[in-house]
Symmetry: C2
């Protein structure tokens, strides 16, 4: 096991080839879920997996499973993966790295002629980003039955197209039943999407679990009126109210630092005309914290302060908590396998909590799960300038390889004991 090493150049080349699909002029990627470009990325992934000797299956929500047999194919597989879809102005590594790292693990084992006891699988989950279809992590949410699969298939993009329509259109509405799939353990390699590893000069983040999240949609209603002759004192300006709420969201995050995050990412102003006082504003709120009790405090603060602003400005207010996700600790054995992989590989590492949602967070509800983080430049992600070094990506993939082999061979060892 000590001479296990992936092919760094091959991993990097695969990432760069994949990044051409939906490449943006600024060096990023725009490959929204279930678009023609997503199909192109999926087709390439499947071709590479088949060339590596894997068998492919696709489930009813388009999750792709590439399977490398083990010695004992009655054992449930050790799985790894991530997603191929991106943000509208996304980077080359978010999601793509986890899928390509899984493929590189299989290619490496093929090169070495190493047969694991349990089979291995690499999965590409559908619509992780949530930027085309809300909510995020739709494919893994349906797979793990944390979301109702039928409901997931009916989610609509901003143009009213549904997930199932778009799956059928690109040929990825597979025949495998959603979630009818055992899993002995799940690992996911991912760029950190934050600045901590870089600041601490660590190569590997041993992820101990994920922050809780709450997502809100807020509608503020005032009174449309002409911007010229309507005296300030008589206005019911929905944007002035919403602007104060955006500030309140920011303050609530700052009040619970360093671990809290709070963001208003989307805003739509109605009627959005420069000489009309806005009559309605819709915006989103994203709260995150590793402690559910703190999230509940943040929730209460949001409701109180938004209500105060609405009252002061004579505005109507709807707060809709559209999604919540409790804080999720990962499996102790999987976390230990990642830590051991980092130690054996000789990589500087630290424990870390995931601030972002990942497919692994849903998988943790149904199977022993662990994650491996590698640094990304300046902690920037969900941005076309997202960057990571070939060396760090290679290190994370080596840790993934060791952790998967460790877990895949464990049942055999158990039997031999």
């Amino acid at each position: 096991m000590t001479n296990l090493a992936i092919n760094s150049d091959r991993l990097w080349d695969s990432l760069m080839q994949l990044a051409k699909i939906g490449a943006t002029p600024k060096g990023g990627v725009c490959r929204l879920a279930l678009t023609d470009l997503d199909k192109e990325g999926r087709d390439l992934f499947i071709r590479w997996c088949e060339e590596a000797g894997c068998s492919i299956s696709v489930d009813g929500i388009g999750n792709i499973f590439a399977r490398r047999p083990g010695r004992n194919n009655d054992l449930p597989p050790i799985m790894t993966g991530s997603h191929l879809d991106s943000q509208p102005t996304g980077g080359r590594f978010d999601g793509a790295y986890g899928v390509m790292a899984g493929l590189e693990v299989i290619r490496t084992l093929n090169d070495m002629g190493y047969e694991t006891e349990a089979p291995l699988e690499v999965v590409a989950w559908t619509n992780e980003e949530g930027s085309r279809f809300a909510p995020a992590m739709l494919g893994s949410g349906a797979f793990t039955k944390q979301l109702d699969p039928a409901w997931c298939l009916e989610r609509e993009d901003p143009d009213g197209k549904t997930v199932i329509e778009e799956l059928k259109r690109i040929g990825y509405a597979g025949d495998k039943p959603i979630g009818e799939h055992d899993c002995a353990a799940y690992f996911e390699a991912h760029i950190e999407q934050g600045p901590i590893l870089e600041a601490e000069e660590k190569t590997i983040g041993v992820v101990s679990g994920a922050q809780g999240q709450r997502w809100y949609e807020v509608t503020v209603r005032g009174q449309e009126a002409h911007a010229g002759p309507t005296p300030m004192a008589r206005r019911r300006d929905a944007l002035v109210g919403a602007a104060k709420m955006v500030q309140a969201v920011n303050e609530i995050g700052l009040e619970h630092k360093p671990l809290a995050c709070s963001t208003c990412g989307m805003m739509q102003v109605m009627p959005n005309s420069r000489n009309v006082i806005p009559g309605q504003v819709w915006f989103t709120v994203d709260f995150r914290h590793p402690n559910d009790e703190v999230l509940s405090q943040m929730d209460r603060a949001l409701r109180l302060r938004f209500t105060e602003v609405a009252y002061a400005h004579n505005l109507e207010l709807d707060i809709d908590e559209i999604w919540s996700f409790p804080a999720t600790p990962f499996d102790a054995e999987c976390v230990a396998a990642v830590r051991k992989g980092a130690e054996e590989g000789g990589f500087a590492h630290m424990d870390i909590v995931s601030g972002a949602g990942h497919d692994a967070v849903y998988m943790a509800r149904v199977a022993p799960t662990g994650m491996i983080f590698v640094p990304c430049e300046d902690g920037i992600s969900h941005n076309e300038i997202e960057n990571a070094t070939p060396e760090d990506l290679s290190a994370g993939c080596n840790v993934l390889l060791r952790a998967m082999v460790e877990m895949a061979d464990r049942p055999r060892q158990a039997k031999a004991a």
Copy 2:
């Protein structure tokens, strides 16, 4: 002259028929400039004018002139009018009233067999609202050479379609040269679009002039990043900065009340994804005040406070003043003719300053100009619930009739003296 009276029912019926074109479910109108619906409104107006014996001409930017001959057709005409385009969620009276009131003046004079000394003209100006093509008042701006006509024709809507393309498409790129047209005086009847007449229980606003205006486009640039794992302290959130700027705009208006108005009407957030910290926000600012020196103070306050916010949040800032309009006093004789018309008609009236931009404000640069305001319900305009009473609309039209006849017959009286 004392028995002059328009036909209130006919005026109301014409307004209601016109309001069917682009009618919205909430009782308003969406008839954006140079759309198919705008063409339909224009066609109806022309048909009614021809039925009233007028000759029609259309200039190169689609302004429509309906002319009723006088006894001396060598005299420049007394003109009135307004616009047929609406806001996206506009009302039934903004603009439409001024055009239909002009038509009703001609129909009334026809009924009475009254021939004025100077000819009369009713004009429908192109793209007054500025909501499809910026800036506002494009047709009257080109006509009065306050805007370069060639530049006006190249303005683009959000889809990149130009004014001239759309004029040709709907058949309203006329052959009359833009602005080659004398005008002895211009009147415009309009709903107040503010709450003052209603609050003061006056039927007629004798408009003494128009507020100055400044329009800005502001771009705030920060750093797109993932909303989860990016600690609050490291963020460069463009929306948090923009929200503080929206509040600063509101405060600047309040600091110069009661006459100042300040509004952010449009906002676009990039990339507008709920789990991405906004990297860029674009928004508009609209400042109005009857005193240009106060507008300059407001301008300085905006630049100072926006710069402070940008500095505090480590954001880049562009402030582009895209349009400014000095405060405009109206012609003393025209204002007096409106006041006399209100007195002779027995209508409660008061002097008032226009807070909104109107085609009359451009016309005031090239011809003696006056305006007549009538109340609108709750002062609300640029809104589908915009409303006015048939009685008030009739009163305003009667004042318009008297003022136009007064001015049209004045040259004859002058000659006879």
